[in-house]
Symmetry: C2
Subunit: 293 residues, 2 copies
């Protein structure tokens, strides 16, 4: 082991000395990742110049973040989310060709077995909230409709809760559904206007958010997974641009291209044509899938 | 909150968007620290380009490192140690003027109430291991002896264990002692030749060490805290330069200036003069204290 001695530790050469101890038989990817982590971590420490007390505060924060995590609560994912790391990893893994729809984070509330429904169905099973008509087209990057695309959607109710957060209060599979496009590539379904909601903020990450003068809210959105044979799966949201938190999503999920006008329809003719008894919201948004690479 | 919108998230501006959400009333030091952490963390992610699976591996590792930590075991300090962060923080907080002795990490085995002993006393209470005579001077940066300096020493036995790790096996306060210099600034005491030992490596940090082709050992050393009125406290070790792990300390505690020859004395005259019955080790090392700033 002593043959790997790259010189003794100094403040100047600290990262090189640590990286120099990585063994020659180390998995090359692990060696590359650890060298990058050490380099950037030492650069951060040199810039911050923490006191011993500040260093211990960081150790305690990281420990508490671990202790808060269990099978039901993942405080380290929350930490990654509120520091924009989850979105950055998502962006790096989902670079799309020009014209294709952008991705955003999956989030923890998707369930795999939502029911497949006919186009035009209403996924709001309890009739709560403001009715909302959501429609648009699934297209390829040439602007052609994609037939047989699968659209998996889920959203909060107008109180900002997903069905899985309110078992026994909301019906099972409330505000979830799977749809398939026909040859014209269009989709349409009814839901309810979603509401902003907080990420869990009763742990160390929520306390850090508060200490940074940040709120825990995500602006109102609908989740989509759109997939079709021969195309890359698209995991994304569309957002209400009029939400009060649209410019400060706690997890940085908003992208300019994912804003979709939630338009209030008050015209009597339109209300009647839509078989509604009063005003409703309408969102029109097309999704463009990238070809499979 | 929307007034703080710095533009929506993109791969390019990710760190700026996150930092832009830090509120104006945030504690200035916290704001500075978090901005630096976000900048360097995003730079690391952009360099590494982790897959979603690698990101999840990191989340799980951080969570397990928290779960392994309790009142007795601090796995996050171990992680900081093996990545050289603890030593870097120590170095930043203990920059010494030219000529003064260098610091190294305190470690977890100091106890505050070791007995004060007369110069020349033997701190090896069970007679185990190779006898070792440790001596030298406590000086100021002008080379003058410091009178009344307090020298707090502790070390492992020849099996590589501290007394507190072997309650009931080693006598209490074995291989610990506090000494005070007289007007000549010299110190001298007997101990036992210490041995290398492993940091706890049965947790996620030990597994990471192994995956990097690294061993968990610290080369043999003696711990010192040297203090005197009007001088900066010095927390340091001296190391056996002939230890097999001297070039690869698992926690990067070794500095060139902290190497101290552990010389084997086999000369019959010297053995007799030292009241020994056989060969013993001798270490001569001076410490130079920096003036209080």
């Amino acid at each position: 082991m002593t043959t790997r001695n790259q010189g003794y530790f100094t403040e100047e050469n600290s990262a090189e000395v640590v990286t120099g101890q990585i063994g020659p038989d180390t998995d090359p990817r692990l060696a590359e990742v650890m060298a990058a982590i050490v380099k950037h971590m030492h650069a951060a420490v040199k810039e911050i110049e923490p006191t011993q007390e500040e260093w211990l505060t960081a150790i305690k924060f990281l420990t508490e973040t671990g202790h808060k995590s269990d099978d039901w609560r993942q405080e380290y994912i929350l930490l990654s989310d509120i520091l924009g790391v989850s979105m950055l990893v998502d962006a790096i893994n989902n670079r799309k060709p020009s014209g294709a729809s952008e991705s955003t984070v999956l989030g923890p509330f998707h369930i795999p077995d939502a029911p497949e429904l006919p186009m035009g169905a209403n996924i709001c099973l309890d009739g709560k909230g403001a009715p909302m008509l959501i429609k648009g087209r699934i297209l390829n990057t040439k602007g052609e409709p994609i037939s047989g695309a699968k659209i998996d959607v889920w959203q909060t109710n107008d109180d900002g809760f997903y069905d899985v957060q309110q078992k026994g209060i909301q019906p099972d599979f409330n505000l979830r559904g799977v749809f398939r496009t026909g040859s014209d590539g269009t989709y349409t379904f009814w839901g309810a206007k979603p509401r902003f909601y907080p990420i869990p903020d009763d742990g160390p990450v929520g306390k850090l958010l508060g200490n940074m003068g940040r709120h825990p809210f995500r602006p109102a959105h609908l989740h989509y997974i759109v997939s079709a044979d021969g195309y890359e799966e698209l995991v994304t949201h569309i957002f209400d641009p009029d939400d009060e938190y649209i410019g400060s999503d706690a997890v940085f999920g908003v992208k300019e291209s994912l804003l979709a006008k939630f338009e209030l329809i008050e015209d009597a003719e339109q209300i009647k044509a839509a078989n509604q008894t009063g005003p409703y919201y309408e969102v029109v948004h097309d999704f463009v899938l990238a070809p499979e690479s």
